[in-house]
């Protein structure tokens, strides 16, 4: 709906009427000063300390929970027969899923030349890495004998025994470790020009030295930039299939099994879509308070929140299709077990979790069709929590309700999480936040070099044309 009235909102482009990627009025210098100021200031905001200490409490809780786990064994969790996979695997899949949006933003959107990614890609990548750190813990600690975890690696041990390469749990090891490595490399390479900016703007000797070492002598020559761009593009090209395959491998943990509710061919794409869905929700959860706290509304704009809402709407739609297909197939398969599995999911003793999932993942997010809703920051913040809750319950429903009641009624059981299950989960939330707070304090959370490219000054114009005012 195009209105003929002149547009007064500075966030709207007067020519196209679209939302701007970044607000007008920024120069190379203002961008640099604003963003490097967050890191280089000697005055750490009180709010940062508050959050950091709170997150530190979470890390302490995690340490206690894991120490107790190692001392007493996995029996302190609620897992038993028949539900031998509980919170640990739910949280693992949930955290890995959250990580995926970071790679989507930094890699896939780069391949599609989406310039709006530039404002958010750095902390989305950081989110990926910290989410993978939290996720990567679970496959190790959920084993009964975590000190033998190294047996999962194909190394020449004196036993002459090698891992079983047919198990998706082994593929997990390779998928997650490759994913973590590539994410860190991609994140770091992208950060090098910004680290050089910090080095050049640092006032303290230590700051100059610290950022100087990790900036690896970046001088920003044309050769540097050509290779940097090529490397970024190559890494994006590599990360894109990686991100799809990693969550596919994680979905294989279930899809390869014979359990009704798990043995489904739709899992790989539907898990990936769910991962991107929850990942974008987490980006919003992080971006909205950060832009408020650090006054970055002109850099992480309404346009970003609007676009992320659209991506969530699309991936949420794919996920909804996945749920629909599961229900349809349960009926269409004419399999008694599949039929019962679906009935049990909806109306069994844990049916409430299925309806929480449908409400949070399908029903409420339909509000995001409205542009008014997507451009309302507070509502989008709430929505991001709703979607993350829903996606947690998706894994809960898939894992727990399928396991509680399967083929043999004599092996039916239930699952009641213990305080240690909750402590571990809350602990990883703390660890994630802890690492994220360190990141926003010490590293450039928004790529200055990529923002400068978005400014109108960065574009080459014919001499007689006036400089466009807008930044997009």
């Amino acid at each position: 709906m195009a209105t003929k009235e002149p547009i007064n909102d500075p966030m709207l482009d007067p020519i196209t009427g679209e939302l701007r990627v970044i607000a007008p009025g920024h120069t190379f210098k203002s961008v640099t000063e604003k963003l490097s100021g967050i890191v280089l200031t000697s005055h750490t905001p009180l709010g940062w300390w508050g959050g950091f200490l709170l997150a530190g409490g979470g890390v302490t809780l995690l340490t206690v929970a894991v120490t107790w786990l190692f001392l007493r064994g996995t029996g302190i969790w609620a897992i038993t027969q028949p539900v031998a996979w509980g919170f640990a695997i739910i949280n693992f899949v949930w955290w890995i899923g959250i990580g995926h949006a970071g790679t989507l933003i930094s890699a896939i959107l780069l391949l599609f030349k989406q310039s709006w990614r530039n404002s958010i890609n750095r902390f989305a990548e950081a989110m990926t890495i910290f989410a993978v750190v939290c996720a990567g813990m679970f496959p190790l600690i959920h084993t009964g004998r975590p000190w033998l975890g190294y047996w999962l690696f194909p190394l020449p041990f004196t036993m002459d025994v090698w891992p079983q390469f047919r198990s998706p749990l082994l593929w997990d090891v390779f998928a997650v470790s490759t994913y973590a490595t590539i994410s860190v490399v991609f994140w770091y390479i992208g950060m090098v020009p910004d680290l050089a900016t910090l080095r050049d703007n640092a006032k303290s000797k230590f700051g100059q030295f610290f950022y100087g070492v990790i900036a690896l002598g970046w001088r920003g020559s044309v050769r540097h930039w050509v290779r940097y761009e090529t490397a970024s593009l190559l890494l994006s090209g590599l990360s894109t299939p990686l991100v799809l395959s990693v969550h596919t491998v994680i979905s294989f943990d279930f899809a390869v099994a014979l359990l009704p509710g798990w043995h489904t061919t739709i899992f790989p794409p539907y898990f990936v879509a769910g991962a991107v869905y929850s990942g974008f929700a987490m980006v919003l959860t992080l971006a909205i308070p950060i832009r408020k706290f650090y006054h970055l509304e002109d850099i992480v704009t309404i346009r970003h929140i609007d676009n992320m809402g659209k991506v969530m709407l699309v991936t949420g739609g794919i996920v909804a299709y996945g749920y629909g297909m599961e229900v349809f197939m349960a009926w269409y398969s004419a399999s008694h077990w599949e039929y019962f599995m679906m009935w049990n999911r909806m109306f069994g003793p844990m049916g409430w979790s299925y309806w929480v999932l449908i409400t949070c993942n399908i029903a409420l997010p339909q509000l995001m069709w409205l542009r008014k809703f997507r451009t309302n920051v507070a509502l989008m913040f709430i929505m991001s929590f709703i979607v993350n809750t829903g996606m947690w319950f998706e894994r809960f429903v898939i894992i727990v309700t399928s396991l509680t009641r399967d083929y043999l009624p004599s092996s039916w059981g239930t699952y009641n999480a213990t305080r240690w299950d909750y402590a571990t989960f809350i602990g990883t939330l703390g660890l994630f936040t802890f690492l994220f707070f360190l990141f926003i304090r010490f590293l450039p959370m928004i790529p200055m070099s990529e923002l400068r490219i978005l400014l109108p000054q960065a574009k080459i114009h014919p001499k007689d044309e006036p400089l466009p005012e807008a930044g997009d």
Binding site: T158, Q208, G217
Partner: protein, 195 residues
């Protein structure tokens, strides 16, 4: 403004690459040593025994055959450590005053077993059987080394799984005629070890 890093940093930066390579190598060597060095496998280590029993003296010196003491080696999974009674067969009358043999006489008098230290100590999840090996042509010296030349018993081989598997995958190299099982010096010909 002065440069942050002076010229010597160039050398340090290059060195750091070399250092990374060296660290990786050192890590590899350490990990290998942590599972294969004799310090870990206990090869060649002479454990403290209550009586310094010498196989060299009893086998090489006196010509006693292995099964005289290790009686159950052909019939049982466990080769057996001789009871005090076996020692006293001779030592009731030989070296009756030797201080070295005091624990043996004491055990005989009190009925308390001598607490020998096990040198070849497999973990309990391994179910090894002596009987099948001895009856299928594995000689003592193949696994235990030249025990007749050991004044104090020690472990000759690693007893690690890769060592077991090496032989189970290629047994021919170590098989000998069953008449030669207890011949400690046997190095006979085989298909893989031609004369």
């Amino acid at each position: 403004m002065a440069q942050i890093f002076d010229r010597s940093s160039n050398a340090l930066a290059r060195m750091s690459l070399v250092l990374t390579g060296l660290i990786v190598i050192a890590l590899g060597v350490t990990l290998d040593q942590l599972q294969r060095s004799p310090w870990v496998t206990r090869q060649g280590q002479r454990a403290d025994q209550p009586v310094p029993f010498s196989h060299k003296h009893h086998v090489q010196g006196l010509g006693i055959q292995c099964q005289y003491c290790h009686t159950s080696v052909e019939k049982s999974s466990y080769a057996g450590i001789p009871p005090t009674r076996t020692c006293m067969n001779c030592h009731a009358q030989i070296w009756t005053n030797a201080e070295l043999l005091e624990p043996v006489r004491n055990s005989w008098a009190t009925g308390q077993s001598i607490v020998w230290t096990k040198v070849h100590d497999l973990p309990d999840f391994v179910y090894f059987s002596h009987e099948i090996h001895v009856n299928k042509g594995m000689g003592c010296s193949t696994c235990h080394g030249r025990v007749d030349e050991m004044p104090i018993m020690y472990q000759q081989n690693t007893l690690q799984m890769e060592w077991c598997l090496n032989c189970h995958r290629h047994p021919a190299a170590n098989i000998r005629p069953t008449s030669e099982i207890y011949n400690m010096a046997w190095t006979g010909p085989s298909e893989l070890k031609p004369e």
